[in-house]
């Protein structure tokens, strides 16, 4: 890697990568998240219990050599569920991040590049969505969508894009009046051309940083939704609905392994992703313009 960049004057991406590589917190984040993701993806190959296999004779058992993280209220293996829950939580987080990044980028870029009227209308709409009390938006949207993986992805995506749209727009507004954009327009370039040839490269750093931090946010949001009974519904596992078990005082107090392990996995993952996100932000722009 190093050899490649040293041949010629490094581009901005390569320079950012170099800065990122030197950020200790970010590298700590990477070294936490990589093994975790590998474990989550491969666990069915090396772990004998399945997340939904019940065993009423071995319920609420503490951690042991057989069940590393103990068992839950119907004798399911907490380790397997924490892994499976991680899959679902990460899937929800990743998918919703991609969707909200796409919506946010398109709305922001179209608003900035498609002319003043479009701009005014879209930005008023973004303002409107941001004025809607998030609690109500969340609750009503979740009631409409229902529970399950895809509804949860939808809810989180729809909740998260307006901020990005604003950031992309303000970045690209400067671009609108620049020569090369005016030239491209003059030559009859369509909106898609402007969006993807000029808009995308110029906001890629915002997108990358948003995406990373949004994954962390989405994991927490999923957990919150599931806590309110709106996200991933049991018996499917997710970190959020496993934590929901801590609502019962019996579980909180007497069977702490049922929430400590998924909770720990969640906090470590979010923490690592936050480290990486901060590292990326500093790497792309030491003057940190993303708020």
């Amino acid at each position: 890697m190093l050899g490649r960049t040293s041949h010629r004057s490094p581009g901005p991406l390569a320079r950012a990568f170099e800065r990122f590589r030197l950020n200790r917190a970010a590298m700590a984040g990477v070294s936490l998240i990589v093994p975790l993701v590998v474990a989550i993806l491969t666990y069915p190959f090396w772990w004998s219990f399945k997340p939904n296999d019940i065993d009423l004779l071995a319920m609420n058992a503490g951690p042991s050599a057989k069940h590393w993280f103990g068992t839950d209220g119907v004798g399911r293996d907490v380790f397997a569920r924490a892994m499976e829950g991680g899959r679902i939580s990460l899937l929800v987080a990743a998918a919703s991040t991609v969707i909200s990044a796409a919506i946010g980028f398109l709305v922001g870029a179209i608003s900035a590049l498609a002319g003043r009227w479009t701009d005014a209308v879209t930005m008023r709409f973004v303002d409107l969505v941001m004025t809607l009390p998030p609690v109500i938006f969340l609750l009503v949207l979740a009631s409409i969508a229902g529970t399950g993986i895809w509804p949860t992805i939808l809810v989180i995506s729809l909740l998260s894009w307006p901020l990005l749209a604003r950031m992309v727009r303000s970045r690209l507004l400067e671009l609108r009046e620049r020569d090369f954009v005016l030239a491209a327009r003059g030559m009859g370039a369509g909106l898609p051309h402007l969006l993807f040839r000029h808009g995308l490269p110029n906001s890629i750093d915002i997108l990358v940083v948003f995406a990373t931090l949004q994954i962390a946010n989405a994991i927490l949001l999923e957990a919150g939704l599931s806590f309110l009974g709106l996200g991933i519904a049991p018996p499917a596992a997710s970190w959020g609905n496993m934590l929901n078990a801590a609502r019962s005082t019996a579980v909180l107090e007497q069977y702490p392994w049922q929430w400590l392990f998924p909770g720990g996995a969640l906090v470590v993952t979010v923490l690592a992703i936050n480290f990486i996100g901060d590292g990326l932000r500093d790497a792309f722009d030491p003057r940190a313009e993303l708020h």
Binding site: N52, D53, I54, L56, L57, M59, G73, V74, G75, R76, S143, G146, T147, G148, G229, A233, P234, P235, N244, A245, R247, S248, T249, A250, V251, E253, Q254
Partner: protein, 528 residues
Amino acid sequence: MNAMSKISSAIAIAAMMATTAMPMLTAPAQAATLSGGFDVGPGGFQGNFNPLAATSGFTWLSVYFEPLVTYDEKLQKVVGLLASSYEVSADQLTYTFKLADAKWHDGKPFTAKDAKFTMGLAQNAKTGSVLAARLTAVSSVEAVDHKTLVIKLSAPSSSLMDTLTKVMMLPEHALSQIAPDQLAKNTWWSTTPIGTGPFKFTRYVTDQYVEMAANSDYRGGKPALEKVINRYFANPAAAIAALRAGEIQFTYVDSNDLGAFKNNKDFRIIEGDSFVVNYLGFNHDSPIWKDARVRQAVMYAINRDAIIQSLYGGAAKTANCAYVSEQVVPKNIEPYAYNPEKAKQLLKEAGWDQINGNKPITLLTYYTTPLAANVMAAVQAMLGQAGINVTPRAVDTPTYNSIVLNPTPDTSQFQMVYAGLQNGPDAGSINVGLNEKQIPPAGPNVARVRMPDLTKALDAALGETDAAKRDARYQEVCKVMNKDLPWGTLWVANRYGVASAKLKDFVWTPAPGGGPYQAHPEKWSIAE
């Protein structure tokens, strides 16, 4: 007192900051005040003050309001409360109530005119009364004299007395000025209501608590307590925390949260029949359940005893029809003991592979408690073993109702429900869930049960005017249910309340809807 708690909170803050382990108690509750979570759990209805609109919450309402008749503490028979005695004519069409010598909280006497007025409000759906449909058999209500009320029916009704326990008497002199359609919106209910009960309403602090003071003129004697406080809780877990911290002396507790109170001499666990039968409702509009052998297979595939032992801690009875009480369950009905081999065999005979095979079947429920989530996981796993692939889907109550009560439902959204229905104290309660005439929109027969034998048996039982023969009629209902399996009946679970050991003569039972029943709040007391 003021200075005390000021100091205590200052110390608490200091203690928190220094994180030294210095036990700080909230100042002890004032003597002779009982605080409780009376509206926590399935029998509660926080924020409702209007008995006409009450679908539940009667435990608290009957602390200050009283009906003419109520259930006894065991919920076995109806006894007089504001009616000192009552008679039913031989043709079951005339009910005569002799009223007790009671006074409203403002000192005015309670008379038959008040009772007639209240019946009028309850029968009038415009008042927002949820009782109106259940009182359609009433043809006239007359106040013969100050202390005698006569209710006449157009046809005999075996459920009239049950309905009357829910009609809380209201004062005519306070409410007659209000137009019926404005009654529900009136602030009287939550500011200055008066009843005839042992406690008087003092104040409601919005969404936090309701406070009552002793009614020293109560005809049953001056209450032992000075105050009763009903605290509101957003969820049962918050109520449990308050109970354990000694801030309240009573609350409903989910059975899986009992652990902390067992073998603890500071608390007394109160156990009672929930009178709710849990069942798997087959959606009979869906072709997959047509074959009776498939429905039998579901019954054999589920190890109900194991679920009851492990998840309910043994505190439930298996139900092989809608009932579990001995007098309405005939001998020699099929017990559907756990037999996975037989389940597989039955499915094979029925040709399950052609009927549905391994396609996922949505199992809809409105139960969202941790216990229910565990039950669903167990049911899913057990049915999966037999070859029936169900996917549980828990939704909130309005969503559930909008799906299952829809007159033209989308069958794919709910091929099966996990639900519960009240099966007592009046055994006729289950009629609405099983009678063919109650298929939505007429009623809540959400499983769309169309079984002529069952409808006939239910109609016969409901129309039986001879109380002595009624049990036999309901035994017939049970027998038909057991054979034809309109539902996959599961169990009737117990429910729990936990009271501080300091409470004396405290009567509570987990009645459906919170009662009403004879709780004698005037006798409740609290030790120092």
